[in-house]
Symmetry: none
Subunit: 150 residues, 2 copies
């Protein structure tokens, strides 16, 4: 199973194409033959999520099955399902980001691709660094996290 790590600075060209870094490309080739699903992130951070297709097919039914009389659940469904775009890497290892997703995540030229284990996150570089600088406020930690020893 895929295990994405690390961050990569990448540029999107004028056509909305972006070259997946070679190392990530290798992992994607192995995990899904280059077949991925790009969608919106559901939390307050406006970034995109990149799933290898098999990983997406585990997640998708779970999202579809959420009890959607609940407002938060409906929101999640609309964002995740309503923005999902299956695609393949082109011959040069690039993907073409659909305009709607581009504007959702405020993607311009300079981007950051962030490994997050089973998926990747795609951020506007500006927003990523702004997020890094945010104070890690007094959010409550789950007990599993309290017990961690890094």
């Amino acid at each position: 199973m895929s295990n994405f790590l690390g961050s990569h600075a990448i540029n999107m060209d004028a056509k909305g194409r972006l070259a997946i870094p070679a190392k990530v490309r290798e992992e994607l080739a192995q995990a899904c033959g280059g077949r991925i699903v790009l969608t919106a992130n559901a939390d307050e951070e406006r970034c995109l999520l990149v799933y290898p297709e098999p990983e997406w097919e585990i997640l998708r039914p779970k999202v579809e099955a959420l009890p959607n009389m609940n407002k938060a659940a409906r929101r999640l469904q609309r964002l995740i399902l309503g923005n999902a775009a299956p695609m393949e890497l082109d011959g040069a290892g690039r993907i073409l980001v659909p305009p709607t997703l581009r504007s959702y995540a405020h993607l311009e030229k300079k981007l950051m691709l962030i490994g997050q284990g089973k998926k990747l996150e795609l951020w506007s570089e500006e927003r990523w660094f702004a997020w890094l600088d945010e104070s890690s406020d007094d959010d409550e930690m789950p007990p599993e996290m309290e017990a961690l020893s890094l």
Copy 2:
């Protein structure tokens, strides 16, 4: 199991390469054959963490398994996983620190490598000495620490 102790002053060259001190290199060779994972520190101190690969593989699943609807947990995942860079020492016993990590920890020429038992910490020399001078305020201690007798 590895047990890193002591601190070493080291220089990073213009390309971002830094020579691991010979004594540390020996320990790394024994612990992981020179295979390490470099990542960001998650707390407010902007330094890097150096894990021998086996040690990293104990930590990684714990971080990936955190409940990521929680904000604090997501932050930890983005920092630890999103900055992780597996690497090996080169022929001369050096590592190349990726640009993103270099800027995260404000690393310039003069660095400090600090043994921390199962891992090492890598600091900008300036920040390390500034930290040493900080007042160790009135932060609350966990009970295990209260019970210590140095």
